[in-house]
Amino acid sequence: MRRERENLFYLLEPLLERVERPSRYLNHEWGAVEEQDGPFHVCIMYPDVYDVGLPNLGIAILYDELNRQDGISCERAYLPWIDMAGFMRERSIPLLSLESSSPVASFDLVGFTLAHELVCTNIVEALDLAGITLRADEREEDEPIVIAGGPSAWNCEPVAPMFDAVLLGDGEGAITNMAQCVREAREEGVSRREIWRRLSLLPGVYVPALYDVVVDETSTRWGYCVPKEGSGAPACVTKHCIASLQKTEPVAQRIVPYLTVVQDRLTVEILRGCARGCRFCQAGMTYRPVRERPKEQIVEAVGRGLETSGYDECCLSSLSTTDHSECASILHELYGQLSERGVRISIPSQRLDSYGVEMATSARSSRRAGLTFAPEAGSQRLRDVINKNVTDENMEAAARNAFANGYRRMKLYFMMGLPTETDEDLKGISHMAEHVADIGREVCGKRAKVTVGISVAVFVPKCHTPFQWEGQLPLEETHRRQRVMLHAATDRAVRIAYHDAETSLVEGALSKMGRTGFDLVLAAWRRGCRFDAWTDQFSFERWADAAADIGLDLENIACERFDLDARLPWDHTSPGVSKGFLQREWRRAMEGVTTADCTMTQCTGCGVCPALGVANELAGERA
């Protein structure tokens, strides 16, 4: 049943002095939209605590767009931390929105951000706290329409049963279309089923309840999805894609939190998409084509954004900021304008060559924080397999340049468990780190305290990538390989950190298993799993027990390889990159043949541009 819209802050207020970080629940931040007149009310929810969710740019973009629409108001909600959630359950206080403190279950439309696989139990937790029926197909007619979108919407099957609709691709424009569609349908008083049908006709919108899962000899054991007969839903939902970033508002982020959040700064998205073609990278495949904002727009936006927010730091964000064809000149201009006001410009990732270091240096990122690079693999052979087009010479030049520019700390990101990986590749990681440390001592002198931190993640095969058919390493093998790497590292300036193999295994299982995954998610939540992305909250034991509850084994799921021509659980959704391209890329990987970046050379035939009627949009020549 739809709950009444009413301000329930007075129920929360007495709890504030009893919980950690009460400012998570205060709202009324600078820049928040206080007038929430509706009459159509949308609530966008990030399924983690406020401090993690607030900096999310996707939410900021949708919030800004929806609140500009006539007759539509948009609020935010986050998941209360465990202490607050406990008090709320004890006192039957439902999950509330931030701006008006209304029950989330009173909204017309509730949207979730699918930030990564591990938020799945938090979504169940949020719906449960809100008092919204978990499964879309069991929801009462007047309950909110619950939708989702975001980077992890690809293979959303393990959470799909909770959503009336899932948006694939860019949210701009699409979110308004969805809201308008639901609004009109509600005004007409049509059924939920009819709302599904209408939503399924919008570009990029996937309505899970209109599909059946079929398992047969052409598929993996997780089956594939086909539209229900007579549903009118498309056999394959292709993502919604905006042709140009230039036409979107560059300063989407307007809310300035009181709480110190994870990324406490202004973010301006300077380009979307990355065509470097790393074969493990889901974002690289699903955010194509590359769309750059022009320099003037970026410079204007940074100045305006800083003025209205009062931030003293601005991050120029994207998947590969230093690839922007005008990055160096943008940094130069911004630095000239802003340094007197004590403003820092940061860039999230550096290119692994001396050019990248130059840009980091001109961004005046803190020397103390050090520089971060991602060679991903420890040997040229394996880097060719994954199509990480950097050479040992690039790494060497970057390191030399960084140390010469005053940096003393270097952080290197790697992955282990990549297809075709051998012990030699792993030892290569340690040797590469030691070599970088040697360069540091050579450039800075023996007495300088040079450190090289390496962080090694476990490779998780993701859908819609050339490695989607691969299996993950079994736990024991992961641990063995970690030891191989550790033993190879003797230099005391090198510090090795691993990602937790168990967490990666859960992520891997969820990335493979299609809609059956929902049974696992539910079983895990029932066993108390939530906030699984928090290392102090994650319990592998609970996840393993949950899998056993439904007769499955996590390792068995995550480590399975799929046939190259099998129908996959996510084949009914498409980011525009063709399956043929991914298969070709897989074959090239096995042969160790690299594929160039289409923004630097020519089209490599991924299929996105013809499929979506778009093209790479560059602001200048890329170097």
Partner: protein, 242 residues
């Protein structure tokens, strides 16, 4: 820079009210810093690689406490009209932290935090069984002892009460308020006025005192004013200095 003829400090009194009483000191400072930038006031930045705004705050207000007398000094490279600065700050600050007064003062002055060493507090302790006598007995017993023992986090602490508690006043609160919307808010209890002093060895937080003498938290704590105590015991207000 700081030696320039126009260099000065802008002293601002602001409030911390309503739900924003739950903000911690760092959160308040962060918000003020951003308000100053939004107001586009001129400010000095520190030397060195990490350039930071030069601003000084009065003593941290505990989380949960509200106030009508918080202060900061913004070091400015050029003089600006105080009223104009105040107007611009008001427009750029959340209402519940709104600046109330501003004065331009000389550049060189003692730092606010150590200088404003006296404060008046307003404390409400609600409950049917809370009486002025009970609170008085508790405070007097603590004064007799001379020190207050309490826990900060997991660490035991001792505070000299005779030097940090200057005086107090008690008043009964008795019902009458029907405006609680039927939410069952207590309307009986005690209203406590505290005059406290910051010494080298510590400062008295009202909630710590109440917790020590009554074993419970107060319902409302509000800082009413801050002063500087001169050697002769006379008091100077931050806004009437100089």
């Amino acid at each position: 820079m700081s030696n320039d003829a126009g260099a000065c400090r802008l002293r601002v009194r602001y409030v911390k009210e309503g739900r924003l009483a739950h903000l911690g000191h760092l959160e308040v400072m962060g918000t003020v810093l951003r308000s100053v930038r939004r107001a586009e006031l001129p400010f000095e930045v520190s030397e060195g690689f990490a350039k930071r705004m030069r601003i000084q705050f009065s003593q941290a207000l505990p989380v949960g406490a509200s106030s009508v007398a918080e202060y900061y000094d913004l070091l400015m490279p050029v003089r600006l009209d105080a009223q104009e600065a105040l107007d611009r700050l008001k427009a750029a600050t959340p209402t519940l932290l709104a600046p109330q007064e501003a004065r331009v003062l000389p550049r060189r002055m003692p730092a606010l935090e150590a200088w404003a060493n006296r404060a008046l507090w307003d404390v409400d302790i609600l409950g049917e069984d809370v009486t002025p006598d009970a609170v008085r007995d508790g405070i007097e017993a603590a004064l007799q002892k001379g020190t207050l023992e309490f826990m900060r986090g997991t660490k035991p602490r001792t505070l000299d009460l005779t030097s940090t508690l200057v005086s107090y006043e008690l008043e009964a609160i008795s019902g009458g308020a029907d405006d609680d919307g039927g939410r069952g808010v207590h309307t009986r209890g005690v209203h406590l006025g505290l005059d406290t002093r910051v010494t080298e060895r510590g400062s008295l937080r009202p909630a710590v005192l109440i917790n020590a003498v009554l074993g419970r938290a107060p319902n409302r704590v509000c800082r009413l004013s801050q002063w500087h105590e001169e050697r002769d015991g006379s008091l100077t207000s931050p806004m009437s200095v100089g």
